[in-house]
Amino acid sequence: MKLLRAEFENFRLLRDLRLEFSTDPARKLTVIRAANESGKTTILNALQWALYGDAALPGKGEEFRLHPIDWDASVKRRVPIVATVEFEVTKYRRSALGTRETRRRYRIVRTAFEEVDGRTSRRAHSEVKLYALNDTGVTPIEPPEAIINDELPPDLREVFFTDGDRALSFIEADVAVSTKRDRVQRAIRALLGLSVIEDAIYHVKKSSAEVNKQARAIGGGSDLNRIASRLETIDEDIAGLEGDLDDAKQQFEAFDEKVNETDRTIAATLRKGDKEKLQRDLEAAKRKIKQLDAQLEAAGKEHAALFRGRALATDLLAPVLDEAFGKLEALHDQGKIPSTTIPVLENRLSLNVCICGETLDPADAEGHRRRHHIERVIAESKRADAIQEMITDLYYGAKTLRPLGANTWLDEYKKVVASRDGLQDMRNDAGKEFRALEVQLDALPDTDIQGLREVLRDYKDQRDRFLSKKSTIQTQLGNLQRERQGLVQERDRLLREQKKGARVLAEAEVTQDVITVLQRAYDRITKEELAKVSDQMNANFLEMIGADPQQGAIIRRAEISPEFDILVYGPEERKLNPDRDLNGASRRALTLAFILALTKISEVEAPNVIDTPLGMTSGFVKRSILRTAVRESAQLVLFLTHDEIAGCEDIIDQAAGTVCTITNPAHYPKMLVNNPGVTERKALRCECNHRSECPLCQRRSDVRAELEMAS
């Protein structure tokens, strides 16, 4: 299908606008140049409204005003809104002479009326008419939806009509995987004709069932009857099981998705920190701090003990003590101390040996004499006064106070300092660790890992249950298919033997042959054609972004998986997240690459109408996207701003069959140089192309416009 022209009346800013589209296969591109707020999106909406009605409008048309905002209700309250689109359809049919191509032209006219009352308006349901255009005139076609739904199915609206800023519905990360998969699957199935083939298989199988009934009706032996009955039952069972298998597959996929999602959530949470583990670590850190605090307290007491200990006194008083001991030594030297001589002397007497070694044995004369002398000394000593005793006691008792020369207190102090500092450092570290753990714990989302793990287990169980169920059903199906095969052979053999069975047999064979061909075609499309779409999408995509050194470095390839997921891979087959790892230009390029690949591989002839496809792109990437889109589409209609066109003029020179410019007169004087002389708010068209301008569309340069806006 190709767009030929469009005409809009009173559709918002499009009061009276005509557009033509290029159908030249050598110049497939139509460019509609328009600055922002000039009506580009309005034209896109108007085209879709013409073809699909209110369902194609934002919010499905509810509360969406169609009439121009500055409509003068005092002149006329009832606003007629009309959108007309002419298009051409090519049909292919098999004939005896080969494939035949026929082209037909149509005009679709959609009309609505809105009653304007002050600020409110009310719309009557829109009406649509379709006409076939031929040499002799126009022929109405009923129902009009038939052709439209056939050529541009509503399911594929987003494939053919793309709002560049929203062109992400196939790959947006915040949409559930199953929804995205659905969209991609629906687009692929629709464009590759899978549903048509599926329906055909279904209907032909029913024919086959009919044939089996006929086989029973032939009679001719209970064997044939029995086999035919059994075949009927088997076919019913197979249909039932196939339905159950589909259900089981869907459930399996749903739970598989849940398992993966939960797994990802757990992994992400664990990366941030396992709450339970953190709490345990926090308790351990608390205990460590308590222990260190106790040790610090003890070390503090040890420090304080330095100020009641002996060392302080002896070290501080060393000079004085020295003098005192000097005096005591002098006394000692004089023999006046120790008075502890007495015990020594008494001890010597008991041993009968003097200190000098001489005998004190009373039996010995000298010994006796010495003994007597010592006894006299003892008696004299005992008569010594208390002072002597005290001094003696002091002399011996204060031995530990004798200065040793070394500063004991300083050594002890040094040890205490090392101990306290060491412990304080450890305490500081423990405090830091504790605080860090607290911060980590606070930062944790309120996620119950344990709970999540239980949920994950549950999902896994369910998933495995459905996997099992799938297996069981597949086994049952396999058994039934084998049984069926055997029975069919037997039945056909019996039919061959029966004269009446010849026709029935022929029908059975024909229907089986048809089913086989259709099934094989279906399998081929889902495998091979899907792979082709995937490869083409990848080729388009890499070509489009290949020039971007930043993205080119991290993106290796894109593919559509057998599960209909659009996936992007980085180095080492690492899956990339479209939202995080792809920039705006790449996300846009990926969606366009998919759409163009699908359109090309399906060999569908349909237009690609895209509003601002090159937004967020620049330089080589912009040119790449444009070149690739032109090459891969059957008919390409692009709404481009001046900025998007900049740098691509040469490509447009070569590829565009039609270029025009749309201007919004409300942009005067800020952005337009000349007064368009129009008071109504309406989109104005001129024939200026991407390289020219006229008094109507001439714009101020951006810099000047900004300066003036600022002043």
Partner: protein, 153 residues
């Protein structure tokens, strides 16, 4: 006889000039303060340290009693828990007076010690307060410095 318990100061009270009493209380743990702020376990320990510091710095014993109001901190029986202090005071007295016989006059010894304590207390209090750290560290650094210098005596 050296290991015989002997405390000639048991019946003698220990005084400090009243003006220093608040600081004495402040810097002792018996006031219930943390160790770093109050390094001395008991008031007698601070008193004794003041005696030692005064002796070390060769300060003249201050006059106490008479017009100078004093406050009793403990009686001499306290020395029973640290008998070496008895000997230390005696040796100190011998060293300061040059008279060995002074050991038989505990009151004289205590007067000398109390005079030294009164002279040494302001110094010790200054050592506790002076510095950027807490009292125990200020004092420790001051004592450290004092010990590293050659003795003044």
């Amino acid at each position: 006889m050296a290991d015989k318990y002997f405390n000639p100061f048991a019946a003698i009270d220990i005084y400090v000039p009243t003006e220093f009493h608040p600081d004495v209380v402040r810097f002792c743990q018996s006031g219930g303060n943390p160790v770093d702020q109050s390094p001395f376990p008991r008031m007698v320990d601070l008193w004794f340290a003041a005696v030692c510091v005064a002796a070390r710095l060769n300060l003249k014993p201050a006059e106490i009693g008479g017009d100078v109001p004093t406050t009793k901190i403990i009686d001499g029986a306290i020395f029973g828990s640290d008998p070496w202090r008895v000997h230390t005071l005696m040796l100190l007295a011998i060293g300061k007076t040059g008279d060995v016989q002074i050991v038989s006059e505990p009151r004289k010894i205590m007067n000398l010690a109390s005079g030294l304590a009164a002279a040494g207390l302001p110094k010790v209090i200054e050592m506790l307060k002076d510095g950027d750290g807490e009292a125990i560290w200020n004092l420790s650094e001051a004592v450290d410095g004092m010990l590293r210098k050659k003795s003044a005596a």
